[in-house]
């Protein structure tokens, strides 16, 4: 049976998803597992779809890149990256009307804030855009675009199957895992990246479908492209001395990671300042890439040939030339991605990491006395790759396992682990958040499932309103108010204007208690005169963290909630706590 037939059959199964067979099977397994079982065919469908998308993107770029080889070596070669980047940006910004950048933050945001929903156009936008950018020589990877496209695929399939938001987020993560797994022939990397970076939630409900998607996508990729790792290498042996040298490589990788992240950010800011940035930024920065490519051809394009050369020990350059190549690759990556062209940092991380590893190994060998050979420099190249992925993405597991998988080797695991974590520690000294999460964190949108901040921002103020309040009018006298107090158990009374809907202020029983017992004064005092008209108001669409901030700032126990000028209800600290606890039990059971 061919892969396509398998795919067709699986999709047909998904079509008959609500069928009795599944339900009965599910019931046998107990009610709580029913929905998990229903997720499995969907996960396989998402895995196959995302795997296909990844394979098509990889092969497409490969073909076009080689097809353009003639142009690249010709007179127009210098302008080729600019052309591809302008087209890529125009496709994403104008044709599909999406935000610039590599797209991973939008995928994380979809999980954090939008219940796993991504627009359907996202399935194609960066897929097409990155094909144009990377095949024309832009220094970027295809992994972020495939994460974006395949995530949107998963989300779309979840939407068709009408699953709830949590499951839709899991299916989105299935797409991410399938995309990464398919493009790298690396199922564990796909799984780990989806869990570590996108979902940030480790539970059976999420792991099981994501594993299935990664398996389906990888098997499909192997059937279509063959079962070769992205990189090949001979067997490496590393000694304890090499392991100790890896501490140094980890530190260097951390600094280089921070430099790469900073360079990217620098060019992002530059292109934000340019006029008509959709065209001018990729044209100008793309020309920079073209010039850099003229001087150093290895610094343009996806660059896996360069990484392969580094691993094989064929990087024909001395220590200083290697350092210059790493630097050039960092700059071309910054230029490409900073311009808003669609593409990711995955591939640049691997290329820069491999070159940095070789460079480090050669420098170390140079200072060592003769007769103390280090391991093959290719092994340092692999360790450097782990270090850069971990340091730039703040994703150590992804960094370690990606290299293990794409090289098909387990021998270097200790070195990879060491370099990845040290690089992460060093990189974190410079930036608390990765390039994926910093923009979200700045806007307060990095809200991981089950965390306190997520719960506070999921709960909207209007959900927690105390509806059973006794509003009074501002023209009521305190003498009449006594009658209201007699029938009420409350201490805070919202005061409305004469129209009966507009909020005027709040009356604290404690403030007027003394006057209430003085009938003569109570008769001549209006509520509007003695209410607190300057009380802080909570907008009805605020979330609980906003509300808590207002409580904190004002020291109040009860605050009015307003919808524009209309009174919507009262919010008290104590009911807020009750709602928070209930939400916590629902979102983070156990």
């Amino acid at each position: 049976m061919t892969m396509l037939e398998i795919a067709g059959e699986t999709l047909a199964q998904v079509g008959s998803l609500p069928g009795r067979g599944w339900r009965r099977l599910a019931r046998l397994r107990g009610e709580s597992d029913e929905r998990l079982v229903l997720m499995l065919p969907l996960a396989v469908a998402v895995g196959i779809a995302s795997g296909l998308s990844a394979v098509a993107l990889r092969s497409g770029v490969h073909e076009v890149f080689h097809w353009l080889a003639g142009v690249r070596s010709g007179a127009l070669g210098i302008a080729l990256p600019a052309g591809g980047m302008v087209l890529g940006v125009l496709v994403v910004r104008k044709l599909f009307r999406e935000a610039p950048g590599h797209g991973v933050p939008q995928v994380i945001r979809a999980v954090c804030r939008d219940g796993g929903r991504m627009p359907r156009r996202s399935i194609l936008s960066r897929w097409v855009g990155s094909m144009l950018t990377v095949s024309a020589g832009g220094s970027a990877g295809l992994e972020a675009p495939i994460v974006f496209s395949a995530g949107a695929l998963g989300s779309a399939i979840g939407g068709l199957a009408k699953v709830d938001e949590r499951r839709r987020s899991v299916l989105l993560a299935c797409g991410v895992a399938g995309g990464i797994a398919g493009i790298f022939n690396a199922p564990i990397t796909g799984l780990v990246f989806a869990m570590e970076v996108v979902l940030a939630e480790w539970s059976a409900l999420s792991i099981v479908p994501v594993v299935l998607a990664a398996v389906s996508a990888t098997e499909l990729s192997r059937n279509l492209l063959g079962n070769a790792g992205a990189f090949s290498h001979s067997s490496f042996e590393m000694s304890t001395t090499d392991l100790l040298w890896c501490v140094g490589l980890g530190i260097v990788s951390g600094f280089v990671s921070a430099a790469l992240a900073r360079t990217l950010r620098f060019f992002e800011r530059v292109s934000e300042k340019l006029p008509a940035r959709e065209i001018v930024a990729p044209a100008v920065l793309g020309l920079g890439v073209g010039v850099a490519g003229l001087v150093m051809p290895q610094a343009v394009g996806e660059g896996y040939e360069t990484a392969q050369a580094a691993i094989s020990g064929n990087l024909a350059a001395g220590v200083w030339l290697c350092a210059a190549l790493a630097l050039a690759k960092i700059v071309t990556t910054g230029l490409t991605l900073g311009s808003g062209a669609p593409g990711g940092v995955f591939a640049p991380c691997l290329v820069v990491g491999s070159v940095v590893g070789v460079c480090f190994s050669r420098a170390a060998q140079a200072v060592l006395p003769a007769g103390h050979p280090l391991a093959h420099e290719g092994s340092y190249a692999l360790a450097g790759m782990s270090g850069l992925v971990a340091g730039v993405m703040h994703a150590p597991l992804t960094g370690i396992l990606l290299v293990v998988e794409v090289t098909g080797g387990y021998q270097l695991i200790l070195n990879l682990m060491l370099v990845a974590v040290i690089s992460l520690v060093v990189a974190r000294q410079f930036d608390r958040h990765s390039i994926y999460t910093e923009a979200l964190a700045e806007r307060g949108e990095l809200l991981r499932p089950g965390t306190d901040r997520r719960i506070l921002s999921d709960l909207r103020v209007h959900e927690t309103l105390d509806q059973f309040v006794d509003p009074v009018r501002e023209t009521m006298t305190l003498a009449d108010f006594v009658e209201v107090v007699k029938k009420s158990k409350r201490n805070h009374f919202p005061v409305l204007r004469a129209d009966g809907v507009t909020f005027a202020g709040i009356l604290h029983l404690g403030d007027v208690r003394e006057l209430l017992f003085d009938p003569e004064l109570a008769r001549l005092t209006l509520i509007g005169t003695v209410m607190d008209a300057n009380v802080a108001r909570v907008p009805a669409d605020a979330d609980l963290s906003d509300a808590l901030e207002i409580f904190e700032r004002t020291g109040a126990w009860v605050l009015p909630v307003v919808d524009g000028e209309r009174f919507a209800g009262l919010l008290s600290k104590s009911t807020l706590f009750d709602h928070y606890r209930r939400e916590l039990s629902v979102q983070a059971p156990g």
């Binding site: 006298t477 403030d511 003569e520 001549l524 020291g555």
Partner: protein, 219 residues
Amino acid sequence: MELSEAARLLHVSEATLQRWVRQGLMPASGDADDPFRVDELRRWADERGLPFGESSARTPQRAERMLSSAVGRGAVLRGVTAANASEVVEHLVRAVPDLEADERALVLERVLDRERLASTALGHGVALPHPRAPVAGLLADPVVVVAHLRRPVDWAALDGVPVHTALLLLSPSAPVHLQLLSRVSHALKQPGVDAWLAAGTTQAEFVERVRAIEEASGK
């Protein structure tokens, strides 16, 4: 910085602070007598969005001799001739010191507005005209202007007694207005005050007698 001081600045109990240190949630030196540095603590609190520093929550301050001072800042008018409550209010507002012309017009409008809603007559021949809502921004402290009328006027009082003395109450805010009302109520309930007001007073007499009342009651 000592533990107790740090706990106060972070607005938590010392027990909470000790637990945070024990759980490794906050930076602390091993020195038990001086575990925290203020700049470190402030940065730690800022990073987590925790309030840090002296409490900004307002503490209600009990102003000493509030009513007597308010009359001292205002005026006492004697032998005022007026045909009705509105005319009395006009006399009173005109006597408020240190107001610009437009501010005076605004106060007059607010006080008359309040009278139109319901009478401010207290009973026993006393009325307490005041603006419908506190006049924010005009006054830093409450001001009271007293008018003794040559001939009592009808003020639609519940007990039907015509008003011989009117006290215009102006406060900068609702809480101050509440305190002022409570002082007025307390002062007017003292034995002999009704007759004393009916006979008429000067500003000096008024301030002195009310101050004596306020001091006697500890207010």
